[in-house]
């Protein structure tokens, strides 16, 4: 079989490991049927390795370069493109998956929705995301998108006794299928206009075209591709699914979805924008205009709608829309800083948002329902001081208060926007961040300063695994704020590799 030499398989590990591990897990779950602890331990271990594999490969980076050279000309392997961007994103998917899987069984058992099949599905979606970002081929991008999306649709509806969970799955599935249709149509148009399915080929074809105004086909295709990923990140006006799906899905799944999907979609937007359309100012310039409009709408509307939410899962859903807006702004900056800022912010966002969702997943209401109304967390400080502190850390980081990672990320995006001449956009971001502070502070006030009210959370159970997950999230949030250079230095050259 061509293209299956050892070296290629090794370099495909970040994608293939979660894929194969998920398949094995699916096959062997019946053997572990009666021992939930074993099922879970296998999942945690596998997810840990899924973080470790890309992380080790990042430390010995020359390997990836070697791979790209070897793979060139091997049939089939042209579909895989492993670079630092892909490896960093793989690390983020793994971290989001690991944090989610740590709290998953406790939550699902309470919701009466424990199915061991969720673990393989989680691995499949990590594999799909990894597939989508480690390629330069439009076909593979679509295949990766479908693999991770389908797994996510199923995971959203896992608590099928709850009507909201089923509604979330159906809504996400129907709209997701619709948006995937846009992606395929857009790809077909781009292929029709350029004759290429690989990003470097597209880039070369575009730069040879000259007058872009005569190519409405290419521009329409590019716009349709953008629509799909704007849907996936929940950018306004493609955000209508976000609050319902985030609220309906089991909370650990929401946590993974919020961080993982965003990382995957932003990673591939970065790649398409620079490797695919970067060679022509005309095409990438139009994308940038569209991205700026999306960024402004998303930052403002996401934050404004979050102000009026009383349910915390919904509040965090709108907050995640708002953060997609900041990330869009990071994407607009020139490549060398843009790529670095996007990845840094995604990493910080993963720690703080997944952390906040994990705290929420611990609150149980009557009959195992989510207890996420803002009145229910009033006076949490008196009942659970340490948990409240963790919640405070995530909220402050989401606002962007100095010692936390959220601040560093926001600050860098803000400065980059000003330096690249988008002063107006930076001003909108500042305004949006101020609006945003209001609702995060509302949560903080409720937790620390309000007296407990009547309809409190029934029970708060903090299993050991949740403590570990929260510790990882808190340490990550602080580390990115206190020692950002730890990540920023290795990130420095990620962007330049994307140039065609």
């Amino acid at each position: 079989m061509p293209g299956l030499e050892l070296i290629n398989l090794r370099a495909m590990m970040p994608t293939l490991f979660p894929a194969v591990y998920g398949l094995l897990l699916l096959v062997f779950i019946p053997l572990l049927k009666h021992d939930r602890r074993w099922q879970w331990s296998c999942a945690v271990g596998g997810m840990f390795v899924s973080v470790l594999v890309p992380a080790t490969m990042l430390t010995q980076w020359t390997f990836g370069l070697e791979f790209i050279e070897t793979a060139a000309g091997v049939p089939g392997m042209a579909m895989v493109h492993l670079d630092q961007l892909a490896l960093w994103l793989d690390v983020i998917f793994g971290i989001a998956g690991l944090l989610a899987v740590l709290v998953m069984p406790a939550y699902l058992r309470r919701a009466g929705a424990y199915r061991p099949e969720i673990f393989p599905l989680l691995f499949f979606s990590v594999a799909g995301m990894s597939m989508m970002v480690s390629t330069e081929n439009l076909v593979m991008i679509f295949v990766g998108l479908e693999v991770f999306s389908i797994s996510l649709y199923v995971m959203c509806g896992l608590a099928r006794e709850r009507i909201v969970s089923v509604e979330a799955a159906l809504k996400y599935f129907l709209l997701g299928a619709f948006s995937a249709g846009f992606l395929v149509y857009g790809m077909a148009l781009v292929y029709g206009a350029t004759g290429h399915l690989d990003l470097p080929g597209i880039s070369a074809a575009i730069s040879g075209m000259g007058e872009i105004y005569s190519m409405p086909m290419l521009l329409t295709g590019a716009a349709m591709i953008l629509v799909t990923f704007a849907f996936k990140i929940g950018a306004v006006p493609f955000h209508f699914w976000v609050p319902d799906v985030y609220q309906g899905a089991p909370t650990p799944v929401t946590a993974f979805m919020a961080a993982g999907t965003k990382a995957a979609a932003f990673g591939i937007l970065l790649r398409i924008l620079h490797s695919g359309f970067g060679s022509s100012e005309d095409v990438s310039g139009r994308w940038l205009i569209a991205l700026s409009v999306l960024a402004v709408l998303t930052m403002l509307i996401g934050n404004l709608l979050a102000l009026v939410q009383d349910r915390l899962k919904r509040l965090l859903a709108f907050s995640s829309i708002a953060h997609a807006g900041y990330l869009l702004l990071a994407l607009i900056a020139p490549l060398e800083i843009g790529a670095k800022n996007v990845l840094f912010y995604l990493l910080a966002y993963t720690f703080m948002t997944v952390g906040a969702f994990i705290v929420l997943s611990l609150f149980q209401g009557e009959e195992g329902e989510d207890a996420d109304h803002i009145s229910q967390i009033a006076g949490l400080w008196k009942r659970r001081p340490i948990l409240s502190l963790a919640m405070g850390v995530f909220m402050f980081s989401l606002i962007g208060i100095p010692p936390m990672g959220g601040f560093t990320g926001k600050y860098m995006i803000f400065i980059a926007a000003i330096k690249s001449g988008h002063v107006l956009l930076a001003a909108v971001m500042g305004l949006a961040a101020v609006i945003g502070a209001a609702y995060y502070l509302r949560v903080i006030v409720a937790v620390f300063f309000k007296a407990p009210e009547a309809d409190l959370i029934e029970r708060i159970e903090v299993p050991g695994a949740a403590v570990i997950a929260l510790l990882i999230a808190v340490i990550g949030t602080f580390l990115l704020g206190i020692m950002p250079s730890l990540v920023l230095e290795p990130l420095a050259h990620v962007g330049t590799a994307l140039l065609p």
């Binding site: 295949v143 029709g192 409405p216």
Partner: protein
């Protein structure tokens, strides 16, 4: 936008056939969306898929045309019609949404169609002739297992996930 784009490159007889097939495809697609009886909608979908098979055949991809008829218009549609009949769906009640959404949908749809027509008109067919054996089984097999080997293999993950999901959603008793 194949019809508009390829008009110039085709002989007149092909053009007529193409026009007929395209017309059938569009009418059938409208029927899927607009008809209120699920069974009739399903049958319109069969017609639409058959028309698409006709387009493949016109483009010289005969193997694809056959597969399209066998798999989609045949096997998949039988399943869909089966499910519709088993569920005993009633025709959807008329009304529901007011005029405003319909108006917006119409305007936006018109904008999209005009954009796509513009896009299609700008299409310049490549000058190179089709390769020898284009659309044959051998050619398709070699492209599946050589150039597209990796996506061909990993798409099965999506199928596995979908299958697991179908079982998780539909199985009556999930305990254990």
């Amino acid at each position: 936008m194949i019809p508009l784009a390829l008009l110039g490159a085709m002989t007149s007889l092909q053009t007529i056939v193409l026009g007929l097939i395209a017309l059938v495809a569009i009418i059938a697609a409208l029927g899927v969306v607009l008809h209120r009886n699920p069974v009739v909608q399903g049958l319109f979908l069969v017609l639409n898929l058959l028309a698409i098979a006709g387009l493949y055949a016109l483009l010289g991809a005969y193997f694809f045309a056959v597969i399209q008829v066998l798999v989609y218009a045949g096997a998949v549609m039988v399943l869909i019609i089966f499910v519709i009949m088993l569920l005993n769906l009633q025709p959807a009640a008329r009304g529901g949404s007011g005029l405003t959404p319909v108006f917006f949908a119409f305007v936006l749809g018109l904008a999209l169609v005009s954009l796509l027509v513009r896009a299609g008109r700008s299409f310049a067919p490549p000058e190179a002739a089709l390769a020898e054996g284009f659309g044959s089984v051998a050619q398709m097999g070699s492209s599946l297992f050589m150039g597209y080997f990796y996506p061909f293999e990993v798409i099965s993950l999506a199928l596995v996930a979908a299958m697991a999901g179908a079982i998780l959603f539909a199985k009556r008793d999930l305990e254990g």
